[in-house]
């Protein structure tokens, strides 16, 4: 019951002047229930990678497995795969089309073959999980604010009750409060429903705070793969890829350079606070 890629390569426009390798020999395995993060510079192949997870893109070479089954073998139902591996695109509010919020969220479950009643039940549940107030259920999605639209769109995928949820920059363009609320909601879902979550993000702070594992993409290749602490210790290499470690990592390294024996692997504000206080205690003694 996991998502596995073996030597996946994807080439745009093969054999022409516009040929471009978006993915080069990527192998990875995401076990069930993991909260994984993917980071990478613009054009590093993140979006191409996640579209391979639910069969929207077919690898030029290599194999994609879901629950140990090759998703490109003959007779494999991609439609069923897509209802199990939910993908929320960047700026998902651009895909809204129905006259009211509830029917838009029903689109997915209805495509799964559920009856109108069942679909609505799922939709209400998903909207609640995405944190949209009930008074908006019957209004037009185009009247809502950016953050609310985003919630509707995320609910549209949640309503299909996927086992794996992939989110491509779910917080892009949102204010800090909306960003935290949406990420907390996702983390809560991960806890509650035990689903696998794959979060694509630019923000190192977001990634550091939530995920258990980080995949770093660079120029179509997997550059790093490991727990956040370990990956961020390569902050010099990350910088060369146009990325950065969380600000805290820099502060901790600066402190160490100035002679404070704090733990440089701290990646969240809370961890840093604890380790600085401990170091200060020791110094007193």
């Amino acid at each position: 019951m996991s998502l596995r890629l073996e030597h996946v390569t994807y080439t745009y426009n093969p054999g022409t002047v516009y040929e471009m390798h978006a993915l080069k020999d990527v192998s990875l395995d995401i076990p069930d229930g993991q909260f994984a993060g993917i980071i990478g510079h613009t054009g590093s192949g993140k979006s191409t990678l996640i579209q391979h997870f639910n069969g929207l893109m077919k690898p030029t070479a290599g194999t994609v497995y879901f629950q140990d089954e090759d998703i490109w073998q003959e007779g494999y139902s991609l439609k069923r795969l897509r209802s199990q591996v939910g993908l929320v695109f960047q700026y998902p509010e651009h895909q809204l089309f129905e006259a009211d919020v509830l029917s838009d969220v029903c689109f997915g479950p209805k495509n799964q073959g559920l009856s109108k009643e069942e679909a609505e039940l799922r939709a209400v549940q998903a909207l609640r999980q995405a944190g949209l107030k009930e008074k908006y259920y019957r209004s037009s999605p185009f009247e809502l604010s950016g953050g609310q639209k985003r919630r509707v769109a995320i609910a549209g995928v949640l309503a299909m009750e996927p086992k794996v949820l992939i989110l491509d920059e779910p917080t892009a363009g949102l204010d800090p409060k909306g960003r935290d609320e949406i990420l907390d909601q996702i983390a809560f879902l991960h806890e509650e429903r035990k689903i696998t979550v794959i979060l694509v993000s630019h923000s190192m702070e977001d990634i550091a705070r939530y995920v258990e594992r980080i995949l770093v993409m660079n120029k179509g290749e997997k550059a790093f793969d490991g727990v956040p602490r370990e990956v961020f210790s390569h902050y010099k290499e990350l910088e060369r890829m146009g990325l950065a470690a969380p600000q805290i990592t820099y502060i901790m390294h600066e402190l160490k350079a100035k002679g404070l024996l704090a733990d440089t692997s701290a990646i969240t504000v809370d961890e840093a606070k604890k380790s600085i206080l401990e170091a200060l205690e020791k110094r007193k003694v």
């Binding site: 897509r82 495509n111 995928v157």
Partner: protein
């Protein structure tokens, strides 16, 4: 999937044809089209073939790309040739029921076939070696005299370049929305005609909304930079004829003259 379709199929390369002034290519293509209708004999077609082959060689664009332009026109070509083949009266060479093939029919069909193919290849040479922006620039300059009779030439060419600019953007947008809806289980392929038409709603509604949003944004950005139409507007890179442009005009005119001579002599 939609990325594979190319419109305004510019092929980047560094050739003398790519460097020519777009006006030369416009007028040159037009003269070539005229010459195709002047040519009427074997020698005339031979000259046209040589001229076209020379141009293709100079353009450094693989012949494969030229022929790709023919594909969508294949059916049209087939129908034209078949109509000519069977419907022209004259000396019968083959007969089956009401179907007759005549001597004159064969000649006419071959001529029309060659003309159409050359016409398409000739104009693809132009679009393959000229960026859409250069094309509209050239067109604007050629049409400039029409300004005197109150034709808004600049505005028309601005609309054209905006439209051309938006084609790839809207294609990408279509691709993105299609994928987003497919991720929600939408099916754009199976079903009968009505189901298929219905399945397009989740694609078309967001696409229209985004097109209007983009148009609004662009209009605002243009106004913010004080765009006010073509009046007194100068260009950053005005088109100026160079030596090789005059040379290209010369070669094309000599070719056209030769075709006319062949036509009158033969």
């Amino acid at each position: 999937m939609i990325r594979d379709i190319t419109i305004g199929q510019y092929y980047p390369a560094d050739s003398i044809l790519h460097r020519l002034d777009p006006r030369v290519k416009f007028i040159g293509t037009f003269l070539f089209l005229v010459s195709l209708f002047v040519a009427d004999s074997f020698w005339g077609y031979l000259l046209a073939t040589c001229f076209l082959a020379g141009i293709i060689a100079l353009s450094k664009v693989p012949v494969k790309f030229m022929l790709k332009g023919l594909k969508p026109l294949f059916i049209l070509l087939l129908i034209t040739v078949i109509f000519n083949l069977f419907l022209i009266p004259g000396t019968v060479v083959w007969e089956l029921g009401f179907l007759k093939i005549t001597q004159e029919g064969i000649t006419q069909a071959v001529k029309i076939g060659i003309r159409l193919v050359y016409l398409v290849i000739g104009s693809s040479v132009m679009t393959l070696t000229t960026t859409p922006n250069q094309l509209t620039d050239g067109l604007e300059r050629i049409m400039k005299p029409l300004n005197k009779i109150k034709v808004p030439v600049h505005e028309i060419s601005m609309m054209m370049s905006i439209a051309l600019r938006f084609i790839p953007i809207l294609m990408e947008e279509t691709d993105k929305i299609m994928k987003a809806q497919m991720a929600r289980g939408a099916d754009f392929e199976s079903g009968n005609l009505i189901q298929k038409a219905k399945s397009l709603i989740p694609l078309l509604v967001p696409l229209f909304i985004s097109a209007f949003r983009r148009a609004d944004d662009l209009a605002m950005a243009m106004e913010a930079r004080c765009y006010h139409g073509g009046e007194n507007r100068t260009q950053m890179k005005p088109l100026v004829y160079q030596g090789h442009d005059y040379g290209a005009y010369g070669v094309t005119l000599v070719y056209l003259a030769a075709e006319i001579v062949i036509r009158t002599v033969m």
